[in-house]
């Protein structure tokens, strides 16, 4: 059998019928049928087969699944096919254990694959309400919580490079009593995930400062250094090390953060908590996970409000098979959303899907400390917060109304659910995607 080299590379999709012409017709027919009417349930089952194959070391089955998936997946097909192609990649990465993933989650190399400009990022966060929902809900809660305080300090833990704040600054500028003095602190370290900027944090801070000045809001923003992290060479630093998180947590103290007594402290966790490892570090009951430690630390800073927004899905410590299914049954949402208003071959869409592909790759392809995407659903997060001594702050009618208005302005598939007043959930065609909550330490006496 000879390897026939094709002269042209014009065929993009593997579903190219000519691909099957030379094979046994029964197989090509079968695959053609599958391709022609690709079904999410079918893919899900294939993925499950794969997971069980990995767990039972069934190499043959693993290969077969990959072969089938390979023939149905397409990164430019319909959403099912696209999602399948990213899953396939993640599975390959996992099965082989050696194929370089598109990014290394140990902090090095290829992540600088795609950098956005700040204006691109501004567009990115508004393309679908995935981020804007959280911004809107959190800003509204924060706005309400800081009423009466002349000075406000926000600790911003997020992955979206301060995209949340212009609308808050704008709202504060319009208050009848005038804006408070606003100070924002961001850490110099963030998880190595998209979105990534082609400018430094200092540049972002500078622009935000200009904007606040333009709006006549007394404003200060600083990046608090997590010194050992920033001086670490990319080749040396390893996200995988729990030391890194310890170093980060160590910086969260009143003196490094320069907390001032006359300021109302706001802590904003926006797509952040899922990057705090939730595995128990030690075996004794004394040892808590990094996530729990983080929560304890921020509680001890006596914030007047803590907003927590994250993806509503449980992908922390499940078995591989459960993770594969759960991940598949969750991440179809952004793929479907992109499908509704970005064309098939839009480079923007392909990039966004690739970002999600990275996420999938991390969730499926890695274990232990390198698996940084540790999503936790809103319900479970709420239990965790309660355990750590926080009480939830209910969403008032105004906030709910604002969020509804926001969603009305987006495509009609987006909706919202309110769960018992203290959790707002963004839904896509009825399926949960993002939750937003707000908390205060139990000892805090303010009623809302």
């Amino acid at each position: 059998m000879k390897a026939e080299l094709r002269g042209n590379s014009s065929s993009i999709s593997l579903q190219n019928p000519s691909l099957f012409n030379t094979t046994q017709s029964s197989i090509s027919g079968a695959l053609k049928e599958c391709v022609g009417s690709l079904d999410g349930a079918c893919i899900e089952k294939l993925l499950l087969h794969f997971a069980s194959a990995l767990e039972s070391n069934d190499v043959t089955l693993a290969q077969q699944v990959m072969w089938v998936l390979n023939n149905v997946a397409s990164s430019i097909g319909d959403p099912n096919q696209r999602l399948a192609s990213w899953f396939l990649r993640a599975l390959i990465s996992r099965a082989a254990r050696v194929s370089p993933p598109t990014i290394n989650f140990d902090g090095r190399s290829a992540l600088q694959r795609r950098l956005m400009t700040v204006t691109e990022l501004a567009g990115y966060v508004d393309l679908i309400p995935w981020h804007r929902f959280g911004f809107c809900a959190s800003n509204s809660i924060i706005f309400k919580a800081i009423q009466g305080f002349p000075r406000v300090h926000i600790l911003d833990f997020s992955i979206t490079h301060c995209m949340q704040w212009p609308t808050l600054i704008d709202a504060l500028a319009k208050r009848p009593e005038g804006p408070p003095s606003l100070r924002i602190s961001v850490p110099s370290w963030r998880p190595p995930v998209h979105p990534l900027l082609n400018v430094s944090s200092e540049e972002v801070c500078q622009r935000l400062t200009n904007f606040a000045k333009f709006k006549d809001v007394p404003f200060e923003i600083n990046v608090f250094e997590v010194p050992p992290l920033s001086t670490m060479d990319a080749g040396i630093s390893q996200l995988g090390s729990s030391d890194l998180y310890d170093l980060f947590l160590n910086q969260l103290n009143p003196s490094t953060l320069e907390l001032r007594d006359d300021e109302a402290l706001v802590i904003n966790c926006q797509n952040w908590l899922r990057y705090m490892p939730d595995e128990q570090k030690g075996s004794t009951s004394h040892d808590t996970s990094c996530r729990d430690a983080f929560l304890e630390i921020i509680k001890d800073l006596s914030p007047c409000i803590v907003t927590v927004v994250d993806e509503d899905c449980d992908l922390g410590t499940l078995s591989l098979a459960s993770r594969i299914t759960t991940c598949f049954n969750y991440l179809w949402i952004p793929f479907d959303a992109f499908e509704t208003f970005l064309p098939k071959n839009s480079p923007q869409r392909i990039e966004y899907e690739a970002d999600i592909g990275h996420k999938i790759e991390n969730i499926i392809g890695f274990e232990g400390i390198q698996r940084i995407e540790r999503l936790e659903s809103g319900i479970n997060l709420s239990k965790r917060m309660a355990n750590k001594g926080f009480q939830s702050v209910p969403f008032c009618e105004e906030t709910v109304k604002e969020v509804k208005i926001l969603l009305d302005e987006h495509a009609s598939g987006w909706g919202m659910k309110k769960d018992d007043d203290d959790m707002l959930v963004l839904t896509w065609k009825g399926h949960n995607s993002i939750y937003a909550t707000a908390w205060v330490p139990c000892s805090y006496g303010v009623e809302y």
């Binding site: 390897a3 026939e4 094709r6 590379s9 065929s11 999709s13 000519s18 046994q24 197989i27 079968a30 599958c34 009417s37 079904d39 999410g40 349930a41 089952k45 990995l54 043959t60 693993a62 290969q63 077969q64 699944v65 990959m66 998936l69 319909d78 990649r89 390959i92 082989a96 050696v98 290829a110 956005m116 700040v118 204006t119 567009g123 393309l127 804007r132 911004f135 509204s140 706005f143 212009p166 009848p176 622009r207 904007f211 333009f214 899905c313 049954n329 179809w332 479907d336 509704t340 208003f341 923007q348 392909i350 690739a354 659903s377 302005e409 495509a411 909706g415 659910k417 018992d420 065609k429």
Partner: protein, 519 residues
């Protein structure tokens, strides 16, 4: 694991749920369908039938069950017949009849009939409803109505020329836009009402929508401009003038002093607004293909499955990014020129798009009179794969490999091909490797952006290396976790030029270390 035939959907409800009386509503965890829900699969014809609910007494048809029940009461039925049967209380979820659709899967079912109807029309139906102000078409009447309400009603324009339909996206963009730096110098604090700037200023047909987000009710806007009612046609004289006054502001994005020098400006605005109405549509659709990423999100975010943009992009992908960039930096006049020229194109393309991509509903009704062909099940596919034995798949996957190889120097894939034939264990692995190669090679054809995306930085991971990489897996498999796979990897390993593969990856730096760390 879900058996697709019996499972229901995940969290029900679309938008707001009614307040729960006493018991806490049990939330379905994401991704875990409600097993008690009844999955209903309707044929397209039934789905789209407008009067599904028929009164058994007089045969009058109704669109909604509630309406039917109300009507039945009017018949003065005896007590027994008035009761609804208990099984109607059961939760129902609906799947889309279109086999390839993501909602065909019961675990993606939608919780209400109207939702699935709308989805079916939007996604698989013909767009019969056309907006007269812009070129957008809709399959569902309510979408069209919703769009018409806001079409052209509110625009925010940044100094850089980008247009936004939503205030929060405008504000966020503006905060980081380069144009702001020059703006700070021009800021005029004489403008008394701070809320007047950037407020959406509106043409006369503004619907009574509530003020944009972040204008918190506790702070009532000092000017009536923010409140829609004064801007209705029947408003008194004073508000319209202020409305028009502040309509200057978003378009120019300046803190203009509230002097009387606005008449010329006003006239200009009124003249310009029609153009501005049209331009967001076309300009933003253009911008989809560029990475400015500014207005596209806003205009299209309000759509649900519009294919207009895709039509434009597909035919003009190469031209538009440049023209948009130019557009963004030039005066509005050129905006208009560009947009008006593209408008007819977009209309024409939309029509083509509609017919080619979406089957008409009528057509589907004919096709779906019998039940649609079921998709191959996963098990059946795997059986096929087993029958094929991965060796036989080589013909197709090699062809696929050929696709990959064509982008790369041909020597190594050829060599690989020969060795692959020779080595006995390699035939199994070839399926694995080839599958992998295809998975990655697939992306090679998709243009440079995609290639880069899928393969990482070219220096590390060119197409040639992709194939080697996958077969060069063996090289690093010494630390491999699973016995079976590593045995296979080793067999490949023996047959390959390991050194070349190693060199391809920058000294093998990634491999050993990754191996160590990835477990």
């Amino acid at each position: 694991m879900n058996d697709s035939t019996a499972s229901g959907d995940s969290s029900p409800g679309n938008q707001t749920t009614p307040p729960k009386p006493t018991a806490k509503k049990k939330r379905n965890l994401p991704g875990m369908p409600d097993p008690e829900a009844e999955v209903i699969a309707l044929s397209p014809k039934t789905l789209l039938a407008t009067n599904r609910f028929v009164c058994e007494i007089c045969n009058k048809g109704f669109q909604r069950d509630q309406n039917l029940q109300l009507h039945r009461r009017g018949h003065n039925l005896p007590w027994k017949l008035r009761q609804r049967s208990s099984e109607e209380v059961k939760k129902r979820v609906y799947v889309c009849p279109e086999p390839g659709c993501i909602h065909h899967n019961p675990s993606r079912a939608l919780g209400d009939l109207t939702g699935i109807k709308k989805h079916f029309c939007r996604k698989h139906g013909e767009k019969k409803w056309k907006c007269d102000k812009c070129s957008k078409n809709y399959a569902v009447q309510s979408d069209w109505k919703a769009h018409s309400k806001i079409c052209g009603s509110r625009e925010y324009k940044c100094d850089c020329g980008t247009l936004f339909l939503r205030r929060d996206s405008f504000i966020t963009h503006r905060a980081f836009c380069d144009a702001l730096a020059g703006e700070s110098a021009k800021k005029n604090t004489a403008l008394a009402p701070p809320s007047a700037d950037e407020d959406p200023k509106i043409q006369t047909n503004l619907p009574p929508s509530p003020p944009p987000a972040m204008e918190a009710p506790p702070s009532p806007p000092p000017l009536p401009v923010a409140a829609p009612p004064p801007l209705q046609a029947s408003s008194p004289s004073a508000p319209p003038s202020t409305a028009v006054l502040s309509s200057v502001l978003p378009l120019h994005n300046l803190e203009l002093p509230e002097s009387a020098s606005h008449n010329p400006a006003t006239t200009r605005i009124l003249e310009e607004t029609p153009m501005v109405t049209d331009s967001p549509v076309n300009c933003s659709s253009n911008s989809l293909s560029s990475n400015n990423g500014s207005t596209s999100s806003n205009v299209f975010a309000s759509l649900f499955a519009s294919s207009t943009s895709s039509g434009i992009l597909q035919s003009q992908a190469t031209r538009f990014p440049d023209s948009f960039k130019t557009m963004a930096h030039t005066k509005q006049a050129s905006d208009v020129a560009l947009c008006t020229s593209s408008e007819p194109i977009s209309l024409c393309l939309a029509m083509n798009q509609g017919s080619s991509i979406f089957k008409t509903v009528g057509q589907e009704c004919r096709q779906y009179a019998p039940a649609p062909q079921p998709a191959m099940s996963a098990t059946a596919l795997l059986q096929k794969a087993a029958q094929v034995g991965v060796a036989a798949s080589n013909a197709s996957v090699l062809r696929g490999l050929g696709i990959v190889s064509s982008l790369s120097p041909s020597s190594e894939p050829q060599r690989w091909g020969r060795q692959e034939i020779e080595s006995e264990g390699a035939s199994l692995a070839s399926g694995l490797g080839l599958g992998l190669g295809l998975g990655l090679g697939l992306a090679c054809d998709g243009g440079s952006a995609l290639t880069e995306l899928m393969l990482g930085t070219p220096s590390v991971f060119g197409p040639k290396h992709a194939t080697l990489d996958l077969l060069g897996l063996g090289m690093a498999a010494s630390g491999g976790p699973t016995g079976g796979l590593s045995a296979i990897m080793k067999s490949i390993n023996d047959g390959l030029d390991v050194a070349a593969a190693a060199a391809a990856f920058g000294g093998g730096e990634y491999s050993g270390q990754d191996m160590g760390r990835s477990s």
